[in-house]
Subunit: 466 residues, 2 copies
């Protein structure tokens, strides 16, 4: 039933190796990583097999794709706006899909078709403007939270539920769907109590690894995008990433080169720089994935290690005029991953001109973009500043799905190589606890006092004011 | 003539000091920086006085504000779209202004009023969609490039000029304005040849310091925003940043704390994290300013130093669900600067609820946001992870102008403290030269051969492909 494989994707890491750049890895260093890579991959796949790690097999879930498509097909045509209430892993993947497959975000309202809104902050600025703008009768709300209790999402759920109820009365329940834990949590309870449409975030898939579940795919399907293609591309990449030969496993190479560049050469900053405006939001999704998965205080044995590369988003060619000066001349603490797109949906020929612009005539904008990527990459490599390039044939559903999976698998493998748990996020609990205290949540009374005492005792002399 | 000062802005750096966090600076260390700060400020102001550094006095240029307002007032009402052709320093400031003062970018087409478009890439994806969408008769193009020769902008200028000419004939010249060097360069020549409206980027103001000139203010004025307010806020901040007492100079404190945290404590990653969606694009503007100004290979004496902190953009509370895990538990290589906004244009009350969401009833979304900032900041400080907070009364023209100037002045002072030239960008030349070679530009024939030879010799075995 699958279409013939249209996936053309390659990872070129010559400019991360000593043969390609003075800042690169020895081939020997790289080859020596084969056993640790194998162990890392085996550890990941063991968790896949025993069911504790769900993201790897998610793309092969044919029933999921069908359920999502069925639901999307039943959404009434009068629904023009989908209000996604979610934050972090519950919104960044959807943003990446919409940016890549629907068009530039700033042109949302200039396009035909259903709009997907992502007011993913407890700052009410965007949501308030949306509630003024949208009509309850033409809107469907989709609350996305794995635990079902995320505070920002919970607050928005209460606000939007009231807004829908005011507009639609008891029929608000027809316009409110949830994506959450299959069994427990406040959103699941709300869905049961009001018979809301509900989809699962499988218990063994964490938020930042959930784009290939209903979390990312349900909004995409409601926008009319090719969800099956996304899953197909991801499944194909999942197959390839099972290879136990490092040199034929793109996720393995991404993970090994990144972690070796960090450990052996101190490059603790990982830049993701697609030369494509349509992949801008993919970089934000990657930043969460890499930062939250690999930034950890303790290793698996409980020893304090405080590791984690810092991911940095960039866009080519735009950032040649912003961050490239630093990448080119600053500390040698970075490795870049470019994404190069071969076929594009559109190009603009540059008219002939006299004088200073004469050299541009006969070229196209894409020709300029291509020259810039090649020039920049080579200039970096010559100066000993390493990079890799992910080449994709085009930005479509298949290739986007493959990119999602590639980075997810690379993250899981890198977590093993760092010997940390890539699937938890204990570090945000301390701040959350203090915030709950301030909000008067039961059981957090001590936390409120802690913040108030600390703020009262904060030295006041370190302050400059107008 | 000026409105009464409405500016309320403060910089609190208690959580960057030992008294406020175990990861902070000694008061003695800080006080010891007074002489080097004074020398740095004096060096900056000497360049201001002798005319080599123009950004400091730009906000006081009353004639500029008037000229911009006059031009904007004469733009015909039928112009619904302004197509800004510029990249880097020629677009990031405008993006920041529009985001802060006009509204969420993704709602551009849902708002009344003139639209400002910023297709700031040689990727044709956005520009091509705009050219399909816009009508030449309702569009004004604004080309922005200090040198007038920026390749991405030049290519877009030729494309858009042809598009306008096809639509309007000889009258295209009435719908094409430029902001460029006062005397030289291809855009200036084009303006002269066709009698186009033209504004200056003063020769002594670099692209990334140019938001408070026509570069940022002309698009803002055409969008009907309060340009005079932006200048007023910036001018007020410029006054305050002349203080030679470190403890009363907010730009000095930002620069000194950041550079001391880097030098003494190895914190080479500087996170800017406003708790406000309207300041999202300000972080991208800051990233360019900080990265391109401070990332330098050589110091003033020509010694190789390869310095430069890496700026990282973040948004509160959203990034508590993305990057905060890394900031909280990862390497102690970061200092955060929060921006806290006191008054907001709108809030959303959270309806009462039973059960798990009960604690939220009676709060508002802003209450949640505030609790999150306070909780997160304190949790970081307790763990020895330093931060500063810029507090502003509200996001309006005055405060935005003040923020722009604050970060510009801090950057200039930090450049002196690093003993590098904060106002050049030599590092991007190497890549540009190679790209020009590929584009067949005259005089760059060698560069073409260099790229082709290098690519031909690139080892091909470091490649994984589907």
């Amino acid at each position: 039933m699958l279409a013939p494989p249209m996936l053309k994707i390659a990872l070129d890491y010559a400019y991360a190796m000593r043969d390609g750049t003075p800042g690169g890895l020895d081939r020997v260093e790289f080859d020596r990583a084969q056993p640790s890579f194998e162990a890392a991959l085996d550890a990941v796949l063991a968790k896949v097999t025993d069911g504790t790690l769900g993201f790897w097999d998610a793309p092969a879930d044919a029933a999921l794709g069908k359920a999502i498509a069925d639901f999307a097909a039943r959404v009434p045509a009068e629904v023009e706006d989908v209000l996604v209430l979610g934050i972090g892993g519950s919104s960044l993947g959807t943003r990446a899909i919409m940016n890549a497959l629907a068009g530039p975000p700033e042109l949302t309202y200039a396009r035909p078709g259903r709009r997907i809104h992502l007011p993913d902050n407890s700052d009410p600025w965007v949501l308030a403007e949306l509630l003024r703008l949208l009509a309850p009768g033409k809107t469907l709300a989709l609350a996305v939270s794995k635990s079902g209790g995320t505070v920002e999402t919970a607050a928005q759920v209460l606000v939007v539920r009231e807004w829908l109820e005011k507009g639609l009365g008891a029929k608000w329940t027809e316009r409110f769907a949830v994506v959450t834990d299959p069994n427990v949590g406040p959103l699941r309870e709300m869905a049961r109590a009001h018979d809301l449409a509900a989809f699962d975030v499988p218990s063994n898939i964490g938020g930042r690894f959930s784009v290939l579940t209903a979390v990312g795919l349900l909004p995409a399907a409601m926008a009319g995008l090719d969800v099956a293609g996304v899953l197909r591309g991801a499944a194909s990449m999942a197959e390839q990433c099972r290879s136990r030969q490092l040199a034929s496993n793109p996720a393995g190479v991404l993970a090994v080169v990144s972690t070796l560049q960090h450990r052996l050469h101190g490059r603790n900053i990982h830049v993701l720089m697609p030369y494509a405006d349509s992949l801008r939001s993919l970089t934000a999704w990657f930043v969460q994935l890499w930062a939250e998965s690999l930034g950890k205080r303790t290793d698996r044995a409980g020893r304090t290690v405080e590791v984690g590369p810092t991911p940095v988003p960039a866009i080519g060619a735009t950032d040649q005029h912003a961050q490239m000066q630093l990448f080119m001349e600053g500390p040698r603490d970075k490795i870049l991953t470019f994404i190069d797109v071969k076929e594009r949906p559109v190009d603009l020929p540059i008219p002939k001109a006299d004088g200073a612009f004469g050299y541009l005539g006969g070229h196209t904008l894409l020709g300029v973009l291509d020259a810039e990527l090649r020039g920049t990459r080579l200039a970096l490599a010559r100066d000993g500043r390493p990079s890799m390039t992910v080449e994709i044939e085009r930005v479509d559903a298949e290739h986007l799905g493959a990119l999602f999976f590639l980075f997810e698998a690379a993250t899981a493998i890198a977590g093993e190589l760092y010997d940390i748990n890539a699937f938890d996020q204990p570090g945000v609990e301390a701040g959350k606890r203090l915030a709950f205290g301030l909000l008067g949540r039961k059981g957090f009374e001590d936390a409120r006092k802690e913040v108030e005492d600390a703020e009262a005792c904060r030295p006041t002399s370190y302050r400059v004011a107008t």
